[in-house]
Every structure is written in structure tokens, then in C-alpha cells.
Symmetry: C2
Subunit: 341 residues, 2 copies
């Protein structure tokens, strides 16, 4: 059905269209690429490509434009990941090395990614449940108020204030602190929940009531913590090509990007640190993102287990090889930095 030349034609169409933003016709196609045949032949090929649904023409007397399906084929079969230039690599490295803490790492990454791809960049903070506990700190604010501070190995710090049902002394807090840290430090947060539950048996029964309160707060922090944080940058890039890439207005896209729930769902697709996940146009779950493509991948301290995801959002007319390369590269560097911290 689709012989090699037709695939070449499709690739050429995608590449030309991405770079020129204009429907591409048979004539310029043979001029710009060495296809070795005449425009008429290309026209025939384009005809079958259109029949198969890979390309379409905006109106009768215009050239062809790739469809979502066409981009999909291009991404899956026709494109090779474009390696970044050494200059780019060095820029990434330098830029990220200056980071002082986790917030800074995330912020720098997201800006960097936006700048590299000239698209909207999204970086998820390292997930709590997928990180391990480095330390739990209990701070006695008053007799009945305790601040629980959770520090993970990815450098993330979360705190919650607990109202205690019963007053505690500084000493009691100290013993709780030791008990907790002895138990769950170094464990995955997901496991920590169960470890905490059977802790009460081993401690002074007098402190039990308070313990339960603290425990439930901890659990709440890690389970009910749906508000996983994300950082966003480069929204101005959406307005770059005028309204050329988006039908009428970028409003629905901006709205979708403001819903962190939506973003997290997008990022959820690419939890694997090895592969780069691409979601094109209509493949996206969210209504407002039907005209966009999303390129994501996971990142983490080691290559196998991802602690979170990052990626970009842009028009379907996007430089996929470049975007995929940038996303992958930034993910690797971020993972590396996390591993060092």
C-alpha cells in the first residue's frame, strides 16, 4: 500500500510543513527534496496518502497538510531522534548546575525546556509517593500543636500542622521523633504508611492518642496529596505563530494548562524514564488540547525508576525529533542532578 517513496513523500511533507507553516504542493516538494520523479508522480502518491488519511488539503487549490494520523506515522516510523548539538548540551549542563535547591532545579529546568523547544514546558515535582523518606522532623509549636516536616531523598520538603488531642511535652515529641525516624527513614513513602500503622504497639501507651493524630496526618500528606505540584513556562510561545496554529484562539489551550489536574494527567502518560511518549492532537484526552501535541518522559535519579515526569505542549505542527531530543536530554540531566543531591 505505502511503498518507500510514498513514505518519503510523507516525511518530506511533514518536514516542509513544520518549517514553513504552509501547505506543501507537489512542485516545491520535488524542488526541495531529491525524490527523483516528476511532480505528477508525487501527485499520485499524495492522492493515495490522502485516501489513507495521512494528509489532507485545507481547500481545493492548496497544498497538503499532515493529519494527526500522518504525524503519528512520522513520529513512529519516519523520524530519527535528532541529537542535540554539543553547544546545546553544554548550555543545559551549565544552566542546571547553578541550581541551589529543588525548587530551583525545577524552575530552571522548565524554563530551559521552554527555551530549547520554543514550546510550553511542564515539569512535575518529584512525586511524594514514589520518593523515599530521608527524615521526618517534629516541631512542637505549642503544647497541642505540632508541625510535621517530611524530607524526601529527592530534596522535596512538605510540612503540615497537626492539632493534637492532648498536650505533649518536649520529651514526648523527642521520643516520637526517634521512633518515626528509626522506622521509616530510607523507606519508600508508599511503604511508610504500613510501617507507621504497627508502630503504636512499641511505644509508650500514654503517647498513643497523639501518635494516632500524627500518623493520620502523615498518611494524609502522602495519600490525599493529590495536589502534586507542577511548574509551567513558555506559555508565550503559544502566541508565537499568531493564530496560525490554533483555530481562532489559544484560549482553550491556556485554560487547559491552568488546570493542574489536566497537566498531571498528561504527564502521567510518560512515567517511563526510558522512552519518550508522544500524544498527538486528537489522541489527547482533554478537549482544549485537541489541537496540540504533548511530548513527555519520566525522570529520576536512576534510569529505571522515574520519580516524576516532564515534557512540552505545542501545536501538532511541531518539530517532533527536536522536541523529543530536548525532552529526553533535560530529563536525563535533571535525573543526574537529583542523584547527586
Amino acid at each position: 500500500m505505502l511503498d518507500d517513496r510514498k513514505l518519503d513523500v510523507l516525511r518530506a511533507i511533514v518536514e516542509d510543513y513544520v518549517s514553513t507553516n504552509e501547505p506543501v504542493g507537489s512542485k516545491v516538494l520535488v524542488e526541495r527534496h531529491q525524490l527523483g520523479v516528476s511532480p505528477a508522480t508525487i501527485r499520485n502518491d499524495m492522492g493515495t496518502l490522502e485516501d489513507e488519511g495521512y494528509i489532507t488539503q485545507p481547500h481545493t487549490s492548496a497544498g497538503r497538510v499532515p493529519t494527526d494520523k500522518g504525524y503519528r506515522l512520522f513520529v513512529d516510523k519516519l523520524s530519527t531522534v535528532k541529537p542535540l548539538s554539543t553547544a546545546e548540551r553544554r548550555a543545559i549542563e551549565e544552566f542546571l548546575l547553578g541550581a541551589v535547591d529543588l525548587d530551583d532545579v525545577v524552575n530552571r529546568s522548565v524554563r530551559l525546556l521552554a527555551q530549547l523547544t520554543r514550546q510550553v514546558a511542564v515539569v512535575q515535582y518529584p512525586s511524594l509517593t514514589r520518593s523515599s523518606v530521608r527524615h521526618v522532623e517534629l516541631v512542637r509549636l505549642s503544647e497541642t500543636r505540632l508541625m510535621v516536616v517530611l524530607i524526601t531523598d529527592t530534596g522535596r520538603v512538605e510540612q503540615r500542622i497537626v492539632e493534637l488531642p492532648k498536650a505533649v511535652t518536649e520529651d514526648e515529641v523527642a521520643s516520637l521523633r526517634t521512633a518515626f525516624n528509626g522506622r521509616i527513614a530510607g523507606r519508600k513513602l508508599a511503604d511508610a504508611a504500613s510501617l507507621v500503622t504497627d508502630l503504636p504497639e512499641t511505644v509508650d501507651p500514654a503517647a498513643r492518642a497523639n501518635l494516632v493524630a500524627v500518623m493520620s496526618t502523615l498518611l494524609e500528606t502522602l495519600v490525599e496529596r493529590v495536589d502534586e505540584r507542577v511548574a509551567l513556562a513558555g506559555t508565550a510561545n503559544l502566541a508565537r505563530s499568531g493564530a496560525l496554529d490554533f483555530p481562532g484562539t489559544i484560549r482553550p489551550v491556556l485554560e487547559a494548562l491552568e488546570e493542574h489536574v489536566v497537566l498531571l494527567r498528561l504527564l502521567g502518560e510518560g512515567t517511563d524514564a526510558q522512552t519518550v511518549h508522544v500524544s498527538i492532537g486528537g489522541e489527547n484526552p482533554h478537549e482544549g488540547l485537541q489541537t496540540t501535541s504533548v511530548v513527555t518522559t519520566g525522570y529520576g535519579a536512576d534510569a529505571t525508576t522515574a520519580v516524576a515526569s516532564l515534557g512540552i505542549v505545542g501545536p501538532t505542527r511541531m518539530d517532533y525529533p527536536g522536541a523529543m531530543a530536548a525532552v529526553r536530554a533535560v530529563a536525563r540531566y535533571v535525573g543526574q542532578i537529583l542523584a547527586e543531591a
Copy 2:
């Protein structure tokens, strides 16, 4: 120069233009408002208003549109702050009361403000330097690494990891902790810096080297902490009226909004918790915001001292009375919530 009727005319022009988004002519003006005179008279008034630079016409055969100067006069002299409906007040209250921690308060506020005004909302996190210290916690991560956690009375928590020049024991950390907290808890962060400096005299000289390291980190946190955080919401509102309000593209505006430095500078203008500050069009320092207006005010636990600012950014063609009322109301509620926490 400008008698009462001319001012009435200006007010009418601003109000009509804001609601219809169309240049307003003399005829519709007398139809929609009870001015008691004929269109011809209005035309004369409009003529002088134009001579004075308060209004302008986009092209010859069109109606008039307010200039920045016109909006300025309107805001200063002609508008009365529109009180919010009780339904709106209740909505604000309900929405903010559900907040669980500082992050939540800020996020809810910014979304609420965006929704109320249908503009871009900006909320600054309570400033570190203007808050007081509730507690300083030192966590010994390893022999030479210490985590410093700073908790303010506004509920903000900041942490930094310090590399110590010399190993410390758990006991030494404990004594440092007590020394710090006895010294600076309850003081303004701005004062804390000086209090810490003369601390060394009173402590075990052996711990000095470490102390200096910790101290400088603390200072760094509060002084060099230029990266005051801000939350942003409602950017999709910029794309609402198409490109009607912004010449060509909203890109420069989006770009400006991504620069947190710019945002902070905008918010810096309105540090007073009593008054609402309005900056119109060309009055804005930043290039990309020449076509926007900014409405800000300070907020804080009590009415006199503001710990941070919040506000909105929108096109100069904006419902100023409504925006000012919403900004003020949200600021008050946020202040109230902070006072309770």
C-alpha cells in the same frame, strides 16, 4: 476647563466603552445616559475632551475611546468603588475557608481573584523579610550536613541545606537549636539578621565555625531570597476578547507575566494594605505591559502592616471599579485568614 458635564461625558464614555468594546459616538451617548442635552452639545464637549487628551478617535468616522489619561482621571475622580454583592462576598468566604495550608490559601486566592475579575490574577506569597520568625528548626542529615527550616508566623516554611565545615554531634545541634530559637523566635526577620550576628559570643567556642556557616545561610535565606514566590492564574482571560484589546498578539504580555521579577515589581507598588493602587497603560514600567493596567493592594494579618501584595493585570479597557472592589475584598479575606492561622 472641564465642567461637571464634561466629566459626566467622560465617565459615560469610559463606562460604555468598557462594556461594549466599541468606540462610542455622541448619539448613543445621549440615548444611553440622561445627559439632558443634544448630541451636538456632547460633540462640542467631546471636542475639548479630545483636545485635552482624555479621549481619542481610532479613525475619523468613528466614535471616541478613552486614552490612558482618560482612564486615569476616571479612576481618580469619577468612579466610586462598586461594592460586591453579598453573594460574591459569601462565595469568597466559602472558597477561602476550605484552605488547609499557606500554599492552598494562595492558590485558592489567585484562582478566585481571576474568576471574580475575569482577568489575570497575581498573588505574592507572604514576604519573608516582613514576617516574623515562629520557629527555626535544625535537622542533622549527616555529620556535616544540616537542614535549616524556617517557619514564619504567616505559615510560610523555607528550608536550606548547609554543608558544615566541621562535623557536629546531635547534642551540639540541639544546643544551637535552642540558642537560635531563644534569640530570634517572635522577632521580625529583618531584625533577626542583626540578632544572629552577636550570638557567637554567648556560645561554646568549639561550635563557632559551624555556627558561622549556619548563620550565613540564614542570612542568605532572608536577604538574598529575591525569588519571592508568586502565584498566577487566569492567563486564559487574556485571550478572551480575541485580539481586540491587544495590538496583534498577547505574546508580550504573556512574556512579561512569566518574568517573576516583573510581577514582583508590579506588586511592589501596592504595598499599602489600606489603598488600592492602579497603574494604567503607559504608566507601567515594563515594555510588554504598556497596553495593560494593573490593580494591586497589600494584604496582611492586620490592616496596617502588609506582608505581601496581590492584584490583577488586564487590558486598559477594564472595569476598574469592579476590579478594585474585588482586589480589595480578596486582600481583606486573605489577611483575615492569615490572622487566624
